[in-house]
Symmetry: C2
Subunit: 212 residues, 2 copies
DNA sequence: TCCGCTAATCTTGTATGGTAGATGCATTCT
DNA sequence: AGAATGCATCTACCATACAAGATTAGCGGA
């Protein structure tokens, strides 16, 4: 039961159904889901450790506001790891060319069909596949945890998804990998990830009350 | 109270007072610390999320065995981030030379005094300082979480600490940073971190029952 | 002797009652 | 009227009791 509450709350937070700054008491959520306070409390602890909630003892529990500095450093972590991944893959391409090419084709299909949700899934799969090809799929789970912060930002900018740009960048990455061009692949990956920077500053301007 | 239990248990696990595979029920720990089961339970949840415990519902809670694959990928994560850090620092040395030099001097003092515990602290401080100089101190917290797995291995190999080797490697890193030699600093950092690899394989041979 | 079933006894999970602390409002005193 | 103080009412925290599943020991039968 506790795990169900965790999942439900995490979804609500990432999709902005629960907005940064909202206060959610144990009793409140417990009543809403028809369970006791105990499972809710444990769910709060898990989510607090993931950086989504802020438990203020004897005071209240609030949905953590997005920390621009935290997002910046999450990007740093992600870029560090993904750069290292792309180096490894480019050094030993192996089956990379075929696998990546197929994924990009699916992305183009989703983009042409204007299915932004599926494109988002495929985009994530593209990066996770690179991790798998590098033999460090577990490391992606780490990125995934920290990506939740970025996902909250991304959700605020839905619709402006310039999927065409992303696809062309994916192509550049895949091409460099196929050629075994390590430096080129690294550069392509860096510029691909750098695009999120402008999204952040723009989002802060649009929703200043969601940030601290 | 719960936080105190978390700290105590984490120390016991990292220092191998609680060995991988040991079963520790909530009631057991609760009685040992003179508290109720509830705070202990919450401590278990936190430690399980950090990968130190494995909660098997309705069965038992055990100290997680060390996963060689997990250690390997933790090393990958650490190397990825620390390489990126050292690049940034080497690109903009600033006050790095003075600060690092002072730290290394303290390390030599600790090494000459055979104070391995203090050396360990200074070694960790060296790397955290690099993160601070790169402006990503928060990222170090992430490494710190994953470093617990490595620390368990390290604790098994205490005494063999070749602190002299570590110091010379630190010097090589600091020298490259002071010269603004980005590639050299990266190479020095990689070889410094690579030393842990042999420790792992050796430790697995010495204590096979601690690993999965 | 060996196999199988049952029941006692572990474990974690959940529900509920009570406690201490923090906040905000209302009342009271200056 | 303004400010300070006391109180009602929130909150998360802890302790206890109960529930449900899993393991194991012991007993009985073949």
């Amino acid at each position: 039961m506790a795990l169900r509450v965790v999942g439900a709350l995490r979804d609500d937070i990432v999709t902005m159904a629960l907005k940064p700054g909202d206060v959610i008491s144990e009793s409140d959520i417990a009543g809403r889901y028809g369970v006791s306070r105990q499972p809710v409390r444990e769910a709060f602890i898990r989510l607090a450790q993931q950086g989504l909630l802020l438990i203020r003892p004897k005071r209240a529990t609030v949905v953590k506001k997005i920390s621009p500095e935290g997002v910046r450093q999450s990007r740093f972590i992600r870029e560090s790891i993904e750069v290292e991944i792309i180096r490894r893959v480019a050094s030993h391409p192996g089956e990379a060319k075929a696998v990546l090419g197929e994924l990009i084709a699916e992305q183009e299909a989703a983009s042409n069909a204007n299915d932004s949700r599926r494109f988002h899934t495929l985009d994530e799969l593209f990066h996770r596949t690179l991790a798998r090809l590098a033999g460090v799929e577990y490391a992606w789970q780490l990125i995934d945890d920290h990506k939740m912060q970025l996902d909250r930002v991304r959700y605020l900018t839905l619709g402006v998804s310039s999927s065409q740009v992303a696809i062309s960048e994916h192509k550049a990455i895949a091409a460099a990998v196929a050629d075994g061009d390590v430096a080129g692949a690294e550069a392509a990956m860096r510029s691909h990830l750098a695009r999120a920077e402008v999204l952040l500053t723009q989002t802060i301007d649009d929703h200043p009350d969601y940030f601290e």
